[in-house]
């Protein structure tokens, strides 16, 4: 939200430039929009360049449109932006190298958490339980225990 407010405030100082018209081929223009949705705007950093109202984002969308018009693949367009702004520019990190951690990390942490809960419950269930001793049958011989003998002696006094 703060990013949007900052973006709108900054935008008021920058006269909005008119972008080039959308590509004639609707499929190609949809691709421009789809690629733009996956690139982070340097001004409104929480937004994609397709959604940001900033001039910077508009210029970057123009670049994407130009590259789509020139027949570049999605990978070539993403590489162009990564070459300049690093992986930071990708709103959806790549599923390779260190960035793979972003995808795998949460699953590993959740898996480790589940394993811990499972281990904890099992360890708890395996602990010997303290069950009260069965009362001695009436008339049964009492154990010969020095301590008990002294307690009984005290009680009888």
């Amino acid at each position: 939200m703060s990013a949007l407010i900052l973006c709108l405030v900054l935008s008021t100082y920058a006269p909005q430039q008119v972008g080039s018209p959308p590509l004639a081929d609707p499929a190609a223009e949809a691709r421009v929009e789809r690629v733009g949705k996956q690139l982070r705007c340097p001004v409104c950093q929480g937004m994609s360049i397709a959604d940001s109202p900033s001039n910077m984002a508009r210029a970057q969308m123009e670049k994407v449109r130009e590259m789509v018009r020139d027949g570049k693949t999605d990978a070539e367009i993403f590489n162009y932006f990564v070459d300049r702004y690093d992986e930071w520019v990708l709103l959806e990190p790549r599923r390779e190298g260190l960035a793979l951690l972003v995808w795998v990390g949460p699953m590993v942490v959740i898996g480790a958490g589940l394993l811990f809960v499972f281990w904890f419950i099992r360890a708890r269930n395996q602990q010997p339980t303290l069950t009260p001793a069965a009362p001695a049958a009436p008339g049964a011989a009492l154990p010969d225990d020095e301590y008990l003998r002294r307690v009984r002696a005290e009680l009888d006094r």
Binding site: Y13, A14, P15, Q17, P42, V43, Q45, N55, M56, R58, A59, Q60, E62, K63, E66, V82, D83, R84, Y85, D86, W88
Partner: protein, 178 residues
């Protein structure tokens, strides 16, 4: 034994998180990364504001040069204009200075330069595409390019005289610095 392994793993994880936080403590989370330092400047072909002639990257190679992206709607750009004008005179003949009017109209730029002086050539990038090629994240931004056309670094803020001298000096051989 199992308890020890488990505790050690938890401790290692906590240490890892603390180390990461310690390493990142000075990093500005809003800073936009720049990956073109040490790489060839992107090719461009832009019109000069005063003469209308085309200027290309190849024409600029052979001498270190400074490229400043700016616009008249940007307050900090106006503030740093005298610093760059001073730098252009100070390093004249050894380092070339160029302004690139980014996302603005020629009329606005001409009016501003009439009032504030045009100490070095200005190139027009009304659509901002050359700026995107250079990896700008806004204006003002100043690029320091060596004689081979390699970007040595960029400065993404209004530049002050001391910083300008240091960064331009780094483009020059020791005997050429003054």
């Amino acid at each position: 034994m199992k308890k020890w392994i488990f505790t050690s793993l938890i401790l290692v994880a906590i240490m890892g998180v603390l180390w990461f936080l310690f390493e990142e403590r000075h990093n500005d989370p809003h800073a936009v990364p720049f990956k073109l330092s040490g790489k060839a400047a992107p090719a461009f072909k832009l019109k000069r504001l005063d003469t209308g002639e085309w200027v290309t990257l190849d024409q600029l190679k052979g001498q270190p040069f400074v490229i400043n992206f700016w616009a008249t709607w940007c307050g900090p750009c106006k503030l740093e204009h005298p610093v760059l004008a001073w730098g252009a005179k100070q390093f004249g003949g050894r380092v070339a200075f160029y302004g690139v009017v980014n996302e603005d109209s020629p009329e606005n730029a001409q009016e501003f330069l009439r009032e504030n002086g045009a100490a070095y050539p200005q190139l027009m990038d009304a659509e901002g595409l050359a700026g995107v090629d250079f990896g700008i994240a806004g204006v003002p931004e100043t690029y320091f390019v060596d004689a081979q056309g390699v970007i040595r670094e960029k400065y993404a803020a209004p530049i002050d005289p001391r910083t300008l001298v240091a960064k331009v000096g780094a483009l020059l051989p020791a005997e050429a610095r003054r």
